[in-house]
Structure formats: C-alpha cells, structure tokens
C-alpha cells in the first residue's frame, strides 16, 4: 500500500510538487526544509508514516495529528498508541528495530532511551539546525544528543517541582536544611513531612540522581565513558536522603511510593512537601480536591541553594528503517513548531520544549506553574547519557535503595554503586 503510493508519487512528479506546494503554504512559523528544492529529489522518502507512541493519557495527540494530516493529505501520519508502561513501549520499539521492519517510522521515547537507540544504529541522524535550534531548551537538546550528533527531536520536557502547603508554609525552603526545619510544622499538624518516589524502580534513580546532583555529585563523566560517582559530594547527597528517612522526615511509607502513591499522599492532605512532576498541579487544583487553593510550587531544594531536577520528557526519533524518512523528519520538526507546542501546553498540559512559551502570558494563565518549571528546567540535569542506560539505572536504584533501607552504609553504597556502574558501562 505504502510502496505503491510512493511509486505513484515518484512517477507522477507533478503530484509531489502539488503536495509540497500545499504543505509549504500551510506550514506556519517553522521553515519547511523541503521548500524550494527540486521536487523529484524530495519525493524520495515522502509518503504516509506511522507514529508509535506510548499511551496518550491526555487524549489530545489525535488532535495534533489531524492538524498535520489536513495540511499534508499525501503524507498522512497514522497514530499507533502502545502500552502505558514505558517498559512495554520500549520492548515494542526494540522488537521493531531488531526486526528492521520500519513499521514504526517515528517512535516517541523517554529522553534516556535516545543514546541507546542511537548507539545501536536504530535512529536516523537529524539536522541540528532544524530540531535543536536556539528556540529549543538546551537541556532537552542535550538529552537528544549522543556522540556529538542530534538523534531525536525534543518534543515534551519535564522537570520536578517541590509542591508544598502554602496554607502552612510562608516562605518555601530553598535548601534541604530549611526543608528539614520546616518538618516541625508537619509534626505540629500531625502530618508527614516529605514524600518522593523511593520504591526500587526508575523513579528512585530520578530521586537519587536529584539528591546527588543537587549536592554537586554526578554518576558518569560528561561523555558517559567513565564512572564519577565516587565523590564526597555524591556521598553528601545520598546521606541527606538516608538521614531524612532515619529521622522520619521522609514518610516511611515512601519506600514503596511510585509517582501516583506519593501524589495521593499529598492530595489527601497528609503530607507537607511533595517532590513530583508538574502534572500533580492539575489534580491538586481540581474542584473537590482536599488541598485546592492551599498549595503552591517551587523548585527543588539543594545543599546551599536551589537544587537541580532530573530531566524527564519525550524525544521523537526517526527510525533508521523507515521508508519515508523525509516525511518523518518534516513531521517531527512540525511537532516542535509554535503551533503544535501551543496545543501541547494548553490542551495536553505538558511542558513545551520551546523556551518562548514559558513566559507567554496566554500559556502562563493556563498553567501557572510554568515560571517555576522553567527555573527547574534551567537547572535540570539529564540522567546519565549512555547506551547502557538501563543497566546504569539498575546499578543506581539497587545501591541507593540498599542505603535507604539501612542495609549498607552510605559509604559502602556509593562504593558499590561505582563498582556496579563500572560493570554497567563496560559493555
């Protein structure tokens, strides 16, 4: 089907000219790279594509796709929604890539997958000028870069916020020491002080990474080829979490919390501080929420001042096995356009990768957390960028968890973590 269409288009060059002409006249803002070049060349790799994404919890992805399809009837994007579980999504992508089938022309992926997919030769390199320009957040671009080359188009981004009860706290803490002092207020009100995500899963990697990078530590060297975690800063960061657990400042039940459980503990009014992603804002301000109007958001605390968040988000990658790479590239660029990103912020309530939208009054009205989020994003640190990300994450999780459980001392945990990371990146 796709093949015949492609052949038809190559043969009838005029049809392609018409299609391209119509798309360039409709595309707003973003420059279409196919503009002005000979049609015969452009017809190569142009045609319908399939976009495989994780479950679209906002329900708004079809709206974006429809916008594109109306402008580009000859280059329709088919939306293929996979599981809600990132692990399952990843499995589907990996199977498709391993089979070199090209069934998924564009895949969406957690920012930490980009390096691995790129290293395995599964992604098509992208043009940095087109998808990683000045208007895109630097931290998001960094997450899409591997070995000096941009491999994916940053689409959504995410950084953590510290949610707190503004009815009980006047000035939010900017350091861990201040936060721990405020725990007295939690005790007076018979509440838990702080909750984050400390079950042994990817969320613990994120939380431990924030504790360690906020104290000035890091896991791997810049290029991801050597281990850097064995440092006093990393020990200090992890020690802080362990102490907070020991002294009951972190809800003891948080050792089993993933995102939702921790959000619930804040939403039911029993927790003073919560570390989570911005999406909690929507649930907390909804009508009928226990804490509507009684909470606010700020950036995460650090050791001497504001801390740094781990960077979350989604990058769009073009499969190296896609038949219609040109359309796939055009489309991921369009997904970064002002037009598409406004839908992302206002309808999907997700964080844009476009820097200018964070101060756009229209957007701030829809999502009041944008200024805080921008600050958090500016200081955000990507999780280690390495093709062996999953093994690296497992090494971080398991050792941090052992320290939080009190099974090993912080000193030992960091030493073991360094050894495990060494093995993880050795392949």
């Amino acid at each position: 089907m796709r093949r015949t269409q492609r052949i038809a288009m190559v043969a009838a060059g005029t049809a392609a000219v018409l299609a391209l002409a119509s798309c360039s006249s409709d595309a707003s803002g973003d420059a279409d790279p196919s503009d002005g070049s000979p049609a015969a060349e452009d017809a190569e790799g142009v045609g319908p594509i399939t976009f495989a994404s994780g479950k679209d919890l906002t329900g708004a992805m079809p709206q974006l796709i429809e916008m594109w399809n109306e402008m580009h009837p000859e280059q329709e994007v088919t939306f293929l929604e996979l599981s809600a579980s990132p692990d399952d999504q990843r499995t589907s992508f990996v199977q498709d890539f391993q089979a070199q089938s090209g069934n998924y022309d564009v895949v969406w992926g957690d920012v930490v997958w980009t390096s691995e997919f790129a290293a395995r030769g599964w992604l098509e390199p992208l043009d940095a000028e087109a998808v990683a320009g000045d208007d895109i957040l630097p931290a998001a671009i960094e997450s899409a870069t591997y070995d000096g080359q941009v491999w994916a188009a940053p689409f959504m981004t995410n950084a953590a916020l510290l949610f707190y009860r503004s009815d009980l706290i006047d000035t939010p803490p900017t350091t861990w020491a201040e936060l721990r002092e405020d725990c007295a207020i939690a005790e007076e009100n018979d509440m838990q002080c702080y909750a984050g995500q400390f079950a042994q899963y990817e969320g613990l990697t994120v939380n431990a990474a924030e504790a360690i990078t906020s104290a000035g530590g890091s896991f791997l060297s810049e290029d991801g080829t050597s281990v850097a975690v064995d440092s006093p800063e990393a020990r200090e960061g992890l020690q802080n979490l362990v102490d907070m657990f020991d002294e009951g400042q972190i809800d003891p039940a948080a050792i089993t919390f993933q995102e939702q459980e921790s959000a619930n503990a804040f939403l039911d009014g029993s927790t003073l501080f919560l570390r989570n992603w911005p999406y909690v804002y929507t649930a907390a301000s909804e009508e009928g929420s226990e804490i509507a109007g009684k909470f606010d958001m700020t950036v995460l605390p650090g050791i001497d001042g504001p801390g740094s968040s781990s960077l979350g988000g989604i990058n769009l990658g073009v499969s190296a096995f896609s038949e219609n790479k040109q359309t796939a590239k055009d489309w991921v660029e369009w997904m970064q356009s002002d037009e598409a990103q406004r839908v992302l912020v206002s309808v999907m309530n997700q964080a844009s990768v476009r820097t200018d939208l964070y101060t756009d009054p229209e957007m701030v009205e829809v999502s009041p957390y944008l200024p805080n989020l921008q600050e958090s994003l500016m200081n955000a640190v990507p999780r280690p960028r390495t093709p062996n990300y999953n093994a690296v994450s497992l090494a971080i999780q398991q050792n941090a968890y052992a320290a939080l459980q009190g099974d090993v001392s912080v000193d030992e945990a960091i030493t073991n973590m360094a050894a495990d990371l060494e093995l993880a990146i050795a392949e």
Binding site: V94, R120, Q200, P252, A253, E427
Partner: protein
Amino acid sequence: MSLITSLTKRQPTTTSSGPVRDIREKDGRLAFWLVVPSLIVLTIVIAFPVVWSFVRSLYGDGIGATPFVGGDNYANALWGNGSAEFWDAARFTYFFTAVSVVLEVLIGVGMALVANRAFRGRGLLRASVLVPWAIPTAVAAVLWKWAFDPNGIVNAVTGWDLIWTGAEGPSTVAIIVADVWKTAPFVALLVLAGLQIIPEDVYEAARLDGATAWQQFVRITLPLVRPALLVAILFRLLDALRMYDLPAIMTGGANGTTTLSVLVVQSSLSQLKPGYGGALATLTFLLIFITAFLFVRMLNVNAVEQAGVRTPRKKDSE
C-alpha cells in the same frame, strides 16, 4: 485390602486375539495422525524458542556486534559478575516455592476434606473456593498489592502499621500469602477429585473394625488420594519455580524478591541482553527440569498413570 485391590480392576484385560489387534493398530495410526498437528504446534511454539534461546545464549550482547562467546554468559551467571544476582534469585525462588507449596498442600487438603463432606451449601462452598483460582495471577497481584499498601486493608484489619512491600521479610510474606490464596484452591480441586473416587464402603468397613478418624485419614484417605495429591504438588512445584507475576507486580523484584523468571525478563528485555538473558533462561529451565525430575523419581510419580489409569503391569504385581 481386597476391597482396594478390586477397585483398581476397572480396566478389563484384553486378550491379544486377531481382530482386537487390528482395531488397536488402526486406533494407533489414527491417534498418531490426530496428535501430529499438536506436535507441530508444540514444536513451533515451544521447541523453537527454547532452542533459539539456547543458541542465542552462546553469543555476546555488544552493541552492533554479537560475537560467539561460547559458555561465557553461563560462566558469568554462575560464578562471574552476575553470580550474586543469580544465586540470590535462585535462593529466593526455592525458598518461596518450598514455603508456599507446603502451605498450599496443607490448606488445600483441608479445604478438600471439608468440601467432600455432605452438608447444605456444599455446592456454593465448592464454587466459592474456586474464585481465587479463576482470577488471573496478574490481577490477583494487583489486588494484594493494594491490600498490603501501608494504608491497605491488611493493616486496617490487623491494626498494624507495617510497610509490607518496603522490607525483605514482609515482602516475602506478602508474596507467599498472595500465592497461597490463589493456588490452594487448585490443590483442593485436584485432591477433591481424588477424594470423590474413594467409595464410602471403605470407610464403613474401617469404622466397623474400630478405626479412629485419624487412622481412617492416615490409612485410607491419604494412600488413596496420594496419586492426585502428588500430581497437584508436581504442578504447583513447576508453577512456583517459574513465578513471575506476583513479585514483578507487588515489589518489582525489590527487597530480595527477585525470582529467576524476573531476572530473566530484566536481563533480556529491560537491559537488552538477549544472550545473557538466554543463558539465565536456560539455567532456569535446567533447574526446574532437574527439580521436577528428582521429585518424580523420588516419589515415583507418574502423572499419567496416577491420574486414574493403572497399567496392567502394576496390577499384576499386586
């Protein structure tokens, strides 16, 4: 004793006369052709993946290249970098299997004995016993995850304040409870089927001879239900040794609750190491195979024979 022996004489012995043999041969050929499609399907869905996984386990997991590495992946799992994980997982898998199968057998036999009595509402009891068994394991795992939540029903009922899935001991207990809840009914079902073929006359005779209830249980019920019970234990053993769903969902393998299957999935899928994962899968298969083999050998279980059909040879020897 004579009563018991006569019970086993259900199958009339056939003499090897001409026409009968013809029919048998025809039956045999028909049976062969009827089984062929199943064999083909089994080869495709079982033998091929098993062989492929073994072949893959002999190759490395590098990015781009997958060189032939022979037994390196196995060495790595058994005494190399991965050995701590592998043996921890094996230890937990066997501990979990031993404890849960023992509990399931005790509870299952108890349930079967109760269900076998004649009383009002027996049908309802038998049906309700089956409910946990009918629930998919993954769903049961989610239910128990909620139940063992710090604010869950278990803490509410007991008045404890325990973070069940937050430490090694309680996590293990939680997973075992969930498994026993789910599969004790399976044991009960098989044992009940075994109980039902014991005729009431046997007990009547025993009572006339003055046997106590305990003596009846040990001398009559247990020996007669033994075949069904052993098959139930064998099935549960195999099932528990390849446990994946409960720990994967309830703890994610944290707190020392990583079973061999969880480890296989973690290595092959999350960490994209099909070679190493293949080696782990093969080792897991071997461990389970050896365990089942020893069980069958030591207890002289023959699943087919004990499901009710006695071979003539056995009967002759009695």
